[in-house]
Subunit: 326 residues, 2 copies
Amino acid sequence: MKSSIKESPLFWPAYLEGATLFVLDETLIPSKFHYVKVRNTKEAVSVIRQMKTRAFGQFLVVLNTFLLEIERAKTFAPKKFLAQIHKTATALNNSRPTFPFSEVTGIVVGWANEALAKGEDAPLYVKKNIFGYLMGIRERRLGRVRQLASILQNDDSILTHCNVSGELAMAAALCKQEGKKIRVFATETRPYLQGGRLTVWELKRLGVDVTLIADNAVGSLMADGLVNKVVVGSDRSCANGDFANKIGTYQIAVLAREFGIPLYVLTQPSNRIPTGADIPIEIRDANELLKFGNRRIVPGKVKGFYPGFDVVCHELITEPIAINVR
Amino acid sequence: MKSSIKESPLFWPAYLEGATLFVLDETLIPSKFHYVKVRNTKEAVSVIRQMKTRAFGQFLVVLNTFLLEIERAKTFAPKKFLAQIHKTATALNNSRPTFPFSEVTGIVVGWANEALAKGEDAPLYVKKNIFGYLMGIRERRLGRVRQLASILQNDDSILTHCNVSGELAMAAALCKQEGKKIRVFATETRPYLQGGRLTVWELKRLGVDVTLIADNAVGSLMADGLVNKVVVGSDRSCANGDFANKIGTYQIAVLAREFGIPLYVLTQPSNRIPTGADIPIEIRDANELLKFGNRRIVPGKVKGFYPGFDVVCHELITEPIAINVR
């Protein structure tokens, strides 16, 4: 029998209750554990603009916003329904530049057109499709958690970087339920400190033994034999297996190879981008580096360079733990 | 003709004027550029205990404190003189545990004994020896700056880590005077941020082109060909050429080798410790990692692991730029 999986709030950071979407405010973690209420497209755009949620959370907000709008207008005339779907899609597409919103909203618009062409009850048809789609993703992600848990062994000491949206924490917690002793070292992940703020918080919450380290301590830990596996996420994956992830992942991968430590990457395979060299790397505002919270580290005029991500070539990956999200 | 060297305040962070020692308060940099006045042993111990100065600065404070005490008591009876030297030495030795104070104070006590044995004017003899000793060190350190400047070439892009007490900044400034274009990338050096606070500040002050990066960006910069030399300092060096330096130096050295980028280390050779494996690594208080300034990053009970230094084996060094300080 499969063990039940304890869920991290970061695994599924937005859920629908009636006509309200509750979105985990990740900017407040770990100080506060708070969900923002979203009731319509306007509030959804606002929550995305304020970056209350990120990555997979944005994806959830986008899909659920259509459900909110369908719920709000119980009876739609077909023409009015399609207009509303388009209006919501446009508003979401224009919310922020970095996330490929139109890819996701395009799927929903496609379902709406399909329903009308088939003469189906369009709101119900779209609603069912969104639910089914989300449930499929959820099952596949839980499968990835189980797959990772099966790779992790008793007495493993895992290094992780940034935050892998609940999956590592849940796999480690599952291992614990199954009697495996697992220890995690989380890098703080400067400059945005996702490791210190999110990863440590969710691992502690699920009862996993976690220790925070400076990003600078990775090489030292490996040299001292304190780490025997590396687990990271992937922001973008390529056809050849290369992937981009939070800045710092690449140097961890090089160090892991230096010490023969296996590197596992939780990834959504994609064939859109041929190789890592084709991934455009976002150079982010240097102020995010020059400030800590709201406090400036270096006063006066200082240049900073902050590539947000780096690319790891597939030769450095031991095993991709892959699911198809889209 | 040799170019004159512009001096960084971090190169010689304590200077004597009359019966007052002015000690640069490095804890206030870069917000304030302020010297603390030290007039006697008690004030010297206080400035060391409060960690207003570090590394070479502590060394300067120790030697100059003897000069202050000699200055304060113009005429000494031989017995009283020796007692005073011993009293000062003991107070300094007990000021902090990490710095080898007794090695330095022992030298001065030796001179005092020597003077009395030879029937010399002991205060004058000790004073002359301290002055001569400091001048010798100063000349050798300036020599190291010139040596580094001669290695640096036009259009070099140098990565540095932590802070090398003025020497890199002065070498880069010297290159600039000589018409070489030099660019420096400084890691912020978490958790204590010596790079962000000290290195960027002193490089800017000497007019050197400097850009701050997150410690996580080193691999990415090298992969993108943005760095062609690495220059770091050394906290402790071994007989076989291994050295210990601020945590993070080791992984930079591994990455430099991965990309064939030469690594230069500014070092004081020593034969006291045979190899890097024999260097005891200080595990520092995790609170220094869990806090930023006075603000806690992760609330609640969180484990942190903070090795203060790591060890780089001599095979990873391209060229030691060595002087004998002691």
